[in-house]
């Protein structure tokens, strides 16, 4: 799908169609229609995470929590192992007459390191799965799109989508209740 099929009259590639909806309720119903029509390369843009929109779009549950859980446990294990190495092999201190192998004193630092690993995995994993940071995107050239960070609710369907058709996709968006539909160039 590397060659775009759609071009504007002045020869520029088309990114896709951008449609505006009035409210979270309207866009939820529209998203269900786009989902049921079988589109895959499309997205809903809203100033906040609309409740239940992932189901309306048919999105799968992210696997990030699993990764975060594993990395957090690994972090705690690394913290524990490192302290154990220091206390038993690296630099043995006779302290309060306690055995160097005592595991109880290793818990707090192991916990903190586990939390640290978890937190970094959360934010870095969130960025990685979202393909961020990304400084530019074709949609940023649309004034209508830039309003989605304020109070607008938008659906964008990419021209690269196998089901995309310049007339039928547009009609779908209008029948789904779009108040405005515009073409976005692939800049």
């Amino acid at each position: 799908m590397s060659t775009p099929i759609y071009r504007t009259p002045d020869g520029k590639d088309v990114y896709g169609l951008l449609a505006e909806f009035a409210s979270p309720g309207a866009i939820s119903h529209a998203a269900e229609k786009v989902r049921d029509a079988g589109y895959t390369k499309w997205d809903v843009y809203s100033p906040f995470a609309v409740h239940g929109m992932d189901e309306c779009m048919g999105l799968k549950r992210p696997i990030l929590p699993l990764i975060v859980g594993i990395v957090g446990l690994v972090g705690a294990g690394v913290g524990f192992g490192f302290q154990y190495w220091v206390r038993v092999y690296g630099y043995q201190l006779v302290h309060q007459g306690k055995p160097p192998e005592a595991w109880q004193v290793l818990v707090p630092v192991a916990f903190e390191i586990g939390v640290l690993f978890t937190a970094f995995t959360c934010i870095l994993g969130m960025l990685a799965f979202n393909g961020l940071p990304r400084w530019h995107h074709p949609l940023f050239s649309s004034k209508r799109f830039l309003k989605s960070s304020d109070d607008k609710f938008l659906i964008a369907i990419e021209a690269q989508d196998p089901k995309f058709d310049q007339n039928r996709t547009r009609e779908l968006l209008i029948t789904a209740g779009a108040s405005a539909v515009e073409w976005v160039e692939d800049a």
Partner: protein, 555 residues
């Protein structure tokens, strides 16, 4: 209001016999600005004035783009000047040595560690609001979490300075961390002081990550507004004085880089919300662990007055207590200085925080009482003497042997500020009045500083052997370092209100009634307004009837 029966009212509305608009409570003077109504059949509004999404954006971004007002620069100059005391005093300390503080052989920890525990405790309220209230789905947190998280980070910065400089040879402070070195020396991992290093550095890092991640969508909003301004008017606009750059262009670049290219996409939101919830999930045990570990610094030693198993919960409750007081000390002036914020931080928000202060203040009071009880019940003479003759006994109650506690005034300041002053919040008139809340918060902040002073100095100054008893008196360097840390904290907070979004816009929009995709609320889309909408600050908001469920939740 005697005729008002909440159960009958609810039943009547559920049966469709009465509409919400007919509720007598709507005109109840006790409802304050409209957020205090205690009608169980209706949810109190989280944002007053039936506002639109755009109003939230304009109000929060307006102060960044147009500036907070004329007061900012003079106030900032003063706090920055005070903050300058801190590096000066630290420089003097490093050149001279810790003897320049009032420390002596007996009282080897005093204001330095008092300040450390004071500041780190203040930070805890921010994490409580952002993480614990998030897990409990307390939607009122959305209006206060950003400012509270900012406060957390600035407090941790102030706190982390003190252990670093109190070690004596500050240039050796890097040895706190397990860094491979030429002597193959590693830290002692069985020491709570080392646990503290890990707890505080993890806490600072995770709080900063949490804060930053929450701001990514709001940075993107600021970026998009700058981009729109440039598109709408490519040639003409306000410019930086000397460099001549377009202000919108500078904002576009700076907030653009900070926003990491966020696009408000639902695919992004889905993962973002999961990540945010997980961060909240790990921050909750983290915040409890941090002050528990700080308390181990004392509790694990054998000093009477420190060697107490109640310390971890007592310290955590105290930290939340003192932290909420600081949140209120910052937010109540914000409501006055930023017109429009009164609709975001309503009287109900203040009341809720006042209730938390009352609860945690009682917990702290219980802990004070329990320390005395255990000192008596354990039969330990040293423990009993610490509480009676190191802390409590004033000279005018001294027995025939003439023994009294030289720091009795510090102890009773603590009791008065922490245990007695929050009791006024039993009265609704006090806990819904910003002036009262501010006054009590101020006293609580003083009281919590004295609590740490009492724990540290009064326990140390007279330990087991009378031969080593001594007193602690602060020097000007002690005092000015602390004053400088207050200045640093306020300066950082003022920079925050000037350049960063003070409210989590996307979260606030999500708790507006019209944000519910299943609701029947009409979007007040025409209700646009800028930052100066103070005229509507007290307009009563319509309450939602139960047959129109809304997103605005309230416990």
């Amino acid at each position: 209001m005697s005729s008002f029966n909440p159960d009958q009212e609810t039943a009547a509305r559920l049966a469709g016999e009465r509409r919400a608009a007919e509720s007598p409570r709507e005109y109840d003077p006790e409802a304050g600005d409209g957020s205090l109504a205690d009608d169980p059949a209706a949810r109190a509004p989280l944002v007053l004035g039936n506002r639109s999404y755009n109003w939230v954006t304009e109000t929060v971004c307006g102060y960044i783009e147009k500036g907070p007002g004329r007061w900012w620069l003079p106030v900032f100059s003063v706090t920055a000047g005070v903050a300058g005391l801190m590096p000066l005093m630290i420089l003097y300390l490093v050149i001279t040595g810790v003897g320049t503080w009032g420390l002596n052989n007996q009282v080897a920890w005093a204001w330095d560690i008092t300040n450390f525990v004071f500041w780190i405790g203040i930070g805890h309220a921010g994490t409580l609001i952002s993480a614990i209230l998030c897990l409990f789905k307390q939607k009122w947190r959305t209006s206060i979490n950003r400012a509270a998280e900012a406060m957390t980070i600035f407090a941790v910065i102030c706190a982390a300075t003190f252990p670093g400089i109190h070690v004596g040879r500050a240039w050796m402070a890097w040895m706190l961390f397990p860094i491979p070195n030429a002597n193959a020396i590693w830290p002692n991992f069985s020491s709570p002081l080392l646990w503290d290093v890990f707890a505080v550095s993890t806490y600072g890092t995770v709080s900063a990550l949490f804060w930053y991640m929450g701001m990514i969508p709001d940075f993107a909003t600021l970026r998009d507004r700058a981009a729109l301004a440039l598109m709408n008017n490519p040639t003409d606009g306000p410019r930086l004085p000397v460099l001549g750059w377009r202000l919108e262009s500078v904002r576009g670049y700076v907030y653009g880089v900070l926003s990491l290219g966020w696009r408000f996409s639902t695919r992004h939101w889905l993962i973002y919300e999961k990540a945010y919830l997980m961060l909240a999930g790990v921050s909750t045990p983290l915040v409890l662990s941090v002050h528990s570990i700080v308390s181990f610094d004392f509790a694990v030693s054998i000093l009477p007055g420190w060697h107490t198993t109640i310390f971890p919960p007592y310290f955590v409750a105290g930290a939340i207590f003192g932290g909420f007081a600081m949140v209120l000390l910052l937010l109540i002036p914000s409501r006055l200085l930023f017109p429009g914020f009164r609709e975001l931080v309503t009287l109900r928000h203040l009341e809720n925080m006042a209730k938390i202060i009352l609860v945690t203040g009682m917990m702290v009071g219980f802990a004070y009482a329990m320390e005395f009880f255990i000192a008596w019940y354990s039969g330990n003479q040293y423990e009993a003497d610490v509480f009676l003759y190191n802390r409590m006994m004033p000279p005018f109650f001294a027995g025939p042997d003439g023994r009294y506690a030289p720091y009795w005034w510090a102890y009773w300041t603590m009791i008065g500020c922490n245990v007695l002053s929050p009791q006024v919040f039993w009265l609704k008139a006090c806990r819904t009045n910003p002036a009262w809340i501010f006054a009590v918060s101020f006293l609580v902040t003083i009281g919590m500083w004295f609590e740490r002073f009492v724990i540290i100095v009064t326990s140390l100054h007279r330990a087991f052997l009378p031969g080593e008893w001594g007193m602690f008196f602060p020097t000007p360097v002690d005092i000015l370092t602390f004053v400088g840390s207050v200045g640093t904290f306020l300066t950082l907070y003022l920079l925050f209100v000037r350049f960063l979004p003070q409210f989590a816009m996307s979260e606030i929009k999500n708790v507006l009634p019209q944000a519910d995709p299943h609701g029947h609320h009409q979007d007040p889309g025409q209700n646009h307004g800028g930052a100066g909408m103070a005229a509507h600050a007290h307009s009563p908001a319509p309450l939602q009837s139960p047959d129109a469920p809304t997103g605005g939740g309230q416990p």
